[in-house]
Subunit: 237 residues, 2 copies
DNA sequence: CAGTGGTCTAGACCACTGG
DNA sequence: CAGTGGTCTAGACCACTGC
């Protein structure tokens, strides 16, 4: 007989489970529908809850599911396309989607201070904003602006003044990076997620001449967002 | 006495652990150094291994750690900046970093077929390439090109012909999206990771006139890569 | 209040790496 | 081969949501 019937042997249970569930989501469930609870699902598939959860974790990471404590697990809608063009809010009409939340004059995190080329204790203007789309919070932003660039304010400046200063810089293309991160406690609260949730970190550097004068860190929900870079966000699912 | 001394109470253990470890990484370890094994670490902190692993998972997600089965856990170097400009390999000199791996004429995945506006069974030219930087694999790419755009080949075309056809389109800016995904088995192998590892999915659409004629799906290791969008990748850590 | 997902435990076995 | 990280189990308790 076949000495070798090797394939299909070792594939982790949670990986097979994920495939099965993924197919089921495509065929048997509608967006928004709620799934059976984790204990029932685990029993149905004959695995421990932890194993079932590993599969659900992956599906949530891929934006297929949405879980909420005390409520249940629902089938997620397609990811929302969020334009991330050259200047962050240089788009006409986009400006208004960002809602200022707080404003302060305080030292920036070490990583930001390094980008700005200042000491760790030097205070900078800090503005926190949030971005909603289709009714749900999608991104949290932290803006750090060198005090020298916000005119005539000792102490904390109003958010408007800081934003105006930034607006004058916007056309100057800042470099930009995208990377994976996990939500800090504060951002998680704004995004209606638990701390540690996966997020896409978009870092923008604003320059005046050769100097970096401001840094923006945008924190996007990785489960519900798809960043669109070109002109078109017509990559609908 | 204070009835309320509420703060600091409920923060998950793995979250505190992560902070402690994160600090330790900054101060007590050098890049490439290997940490104590998970069982020892768990014992040292007085938690179960599963809990310790939750913390390590997060740190790995953030690119601070690198774990390899059978070997150990090491401190990861800073993320590699990978330029992601308008056309994917329109950069002079960048072209050579992509190494062709395989080439075929086969049906594309459903999601890609939809973008190309063709049926699920229609075959397209498919090229698989990999991208290495600083000696390690960083991205896997799948190119899908409509047969009508690869001249004079029935059956499978050589990779060169497909790439040449794409080269003629490259300057035409395609739209582009970035989102979080998990590595499929095949990509995971190319990237030297386990299936399911977090990846950044960059999808590029190539158009000729109004028609989408090709689609590229780039799969970047999310733990080791930072995508740079602007001109400069000088955001060194 | 009952029901949900989130955290945690203490074990076990497996797959892989290196000497 | 010994040692590592990866998977899996069967249970427990907690935090949160909604009725």
């Amino acid at each position: 007989m076949g000495i070798t019937q090797p394939e299909t042997v070792q594939e982790p249970k949670y990986w097979q489970l994920k495939s099965v569930l993924s197919d089921a989501l495509d065929t048997e469930f509608a967006v928004g529908e709620i799934l059976p609870n984790e204990r029932d699902l685990a029993a149905r598939f004959g695995v421990a809850r932890a194993t079932l959860r590993q599969a659900l974790d992956q599906l949530e990471l891929e934006g297929r599911l949405q879980r909420r404590r005390g409520v249940g697990t629902t089938v997620a809608p397609p990811r929302i396309g969020v334009p991330v063009a050259s200047g962050p809010q240089t788009w006409p009409g986009e400006q208004e989607l960002w809602e200022p939340v707080a404003c302060a004059l305080a030292p920036a995190p070490a990583a930001v201070a390094r980008l700005l080329g200042i000491g760790r204790a030097e205070p900078v203007h800090t503005v926190r904003r949030t971005h909603a789309r289709q009714g749900q919070p999608v991104a949290a932003q932290l803006l750090y602006v060198l005090p020298a660039f916000v005119p005539a304010c000792d102490g904390a400046a109003p958010a408007g003044a800081v934003l105006a200063a930034l607006g004058r810089l916007a056309p100057a293309t800042g470099d930009r990076t995208v990377e994976l991160g996990s939500a800090r406690a504060e951002d998680a609260r704004e995004l209606d997620r638990l701390p540690g949730a996966p997020v896409l970190l978009v870092t923008t550097r604003y320059t005046a001449g050769a100097r970096t004068v401001a840094v923006a860190v945008d924190t996007y929900r990785a489960d519900t967002c798809r960043l669109t870079l070109g002109d078109a966000e017509l990559l609908a699912s």
